[in-house]
Symmetry: C2
Subunit: 334 residues, 2 copies
């Protein structure tokens, strides 16, 4: 049982294919199709359950109503939640999302971009990694809307939506210092992206502003896709060897590993030892004691991303690039 085509509808209604097409696309009025014909055709479409073949449509019009979403790892709760919000909002506007995870591999990301390109996606939402600049520039040269989020590539002039990581990190350290902490560690990753660098910069600046020394041995840079076992042993030695009284984790999965370590070595979080995690997670709220976190405004990020995409898609002239920086919130728990 083959699917119905526009031709079948045309034959049934005894009108031309063109007429049916005009009606489907709401151009009937402007193309002066009579009310009677419109009704007849619509009735037939309704009754037969005909749905236009989107592939044929895409081939002809050159756009697919699909938005490509490229993230580091869709199973990370931060990306999963953003993806869900973006999907919802896109869906309401008639766009579908097709996504993939890069696993922080440039090669995989490039492949993905090519794949999306050959599928003629209308726009790209990318949480990029360094090394992708050229590939993204090609998309931009093609006049495809590209929105970077979470991470920026400063060499590229395009749209970006992200949180103010510098200030969030600064505030976190400030909070530690106000509690009287002296030896504050930072556990971060070695991914070379602005968003991560900013977190380090905020950390440094806060220390300096409050007259504390910046001590490199208190900054642990975890290699981005190493085994969790190694991560855990690195953190273990950091926490054991140094007289640390506070630690800021620069990502939620690092914080989760970190909390596992603390549990293992039975180090109590409390008055003597404070923790702040980056990006909220159910585990932080439920933890005893509750773990303070830097909360990125997911809803706002998603909304801004979609707004940027839609305004670009609907305007034929190139819009000026926007860099939208949204403040992150420090949620204190005890």
């Amino acid at each position: 049982m083959k699917a119905l085509s526009i031709k079948d509808i045309a034959v049934k209604a005894n009108v031309s294919i063109t007429t049916v097409s005009f009606i489907i696309n709401g151009k009937a009025k402007e193309k002066s199709i009579s009310e009677a014909v419109i009704e007849k055709v619509e009735k037939i479409i309704e009754e037969s359950g005909y749905k236009p073949n989107q592939i044929a449509r895409s081939l002809r019009t050159g756009n697919s109503n699909i938005i490509g979403l490229i993230v580091e790892d869709i199973s990370n709760s931060f990306f999963a939640k953003i993806a869900r919000l973006i999907e919802d909002k896109a869906y309401k506007r008639g766009y579908k999302i097709i996504y993939s995870s890069t696993e922080n591999s440039i090669a995989k990301a490039q492949e993905l971009i090519n794949m999306f390109k050959s599928r003629k996606v209308d726009a790209y939402i990318i949480s990029p990694i360094k090394g992708l600049e050229e590939d993204i520039q090609i998309l931009l040269n093609d006049d495809k809307p590209v929105i970077l989020f979470d991470r920026n590539l400063p060499d590229l002039s395009t749209n970006y939506v992200g949180a103010n990581h510098f200030s969030a990190s600064y505030q976190s350290i400030e909070n530690f210092i106000e509690q009287g902490k002296k030896k504050i560690a930072l556990v971060t990753t070695d991914i070379d992206v602005q968003q991560i660098t900013e977190r380090l910069e905020g950390y440094k600046k806060a220390l300096v502003d409050y007259g504390l020394p910046y001590d490199e041995s208190l900054v642990l840079k975890i290699h981005f896709n190493q085994d969790e076992k190694d991560t855990i042993s690195q953190m273990e030695s950091l926490f054991k060897d140094q007289q640390i009284d506070a630690v800021l984790f620069a990502t939620n999965y690092l914080a989760i590993s970190g909390l596992k370590v603390l549990k293992q070595i039975k180090k109590q979080i409390g008055a003597d030892f404070s923790v702040i995690a980056y990006d909220d997670h159910e585990a932080f709220e439920l933890h005893t004691p509750g773990i303070s976190t830097v909360q990125q405004p997911l809803e706002e990020i998603a909304e801004n991303v979609i707004q940027l995409i839609l305004s670009q898609l609907s305007s034929k002239s190139k819009l000026p690039n926007q860099q939208i920086i949204i403040p992150a919130k420090l949620i204190l728990r005890d």
Copy 2:
């Protein structure tokens, strides 16, 4: 700068479009194209960076190399993780995933199926809800591979991959009973799917087998998409009013809400009060004390789903339906 087409390549190589197409699709040998021509064309393709337009390809061949994935909520960590595993495995075999969340709405799920249909996805992976039987049957009549996972629809004869929920639930209760628990509660949802019903059945059966009474007031059925506030207050009264000494949560998000309640009302988990959660979550491992959980074998589920899809896609004759039930593991923590 328009993208290159097969025609551009044909002109450059001074051969016909047909020849180029044969070469691209590895049919050169069988169509007796000379080695010299093959090399020439491949060189030009390589140098020009030509990539076939997948849309045109799909239109002609009727398949898209896209697999549609429909889940309840992609931001739920269970689905996010499964999605990531499925995506990885599909990607390695040249398939892309396009996904969407149903939010447990039949209407949305139907819309999604239609959307996927008009996009000509090659196969469907669906975590279904009741009320979708007819729509899925239509796909089956169309000879499209459909794999249900996590939840089954018994009225439908198709492929299914899921965990053994009855036995997992039974074991959990058994474990409570062996610890000497007498008043064991079950917090579940009112979604009417087999997977949820089985968890209830396992609960009942274990009680009966061990000579404990089945008490309806100990089973709390939470309405599936109600506000978390309401859920929390319902659980609160369950935990406060009854002399419960153990509780099994039938989903991970219910367990998370439940743990919040326990924290709020300062009820300690320990010797007097045991908890088991369904579907693991980082929060359970980190919780103090650690929360025991029923772990579904995500990797195995994903692998079986993909295997089923691929074998269906590669065989032209209809394969017999398979129901793959994988044991879930009870992970005890303290």
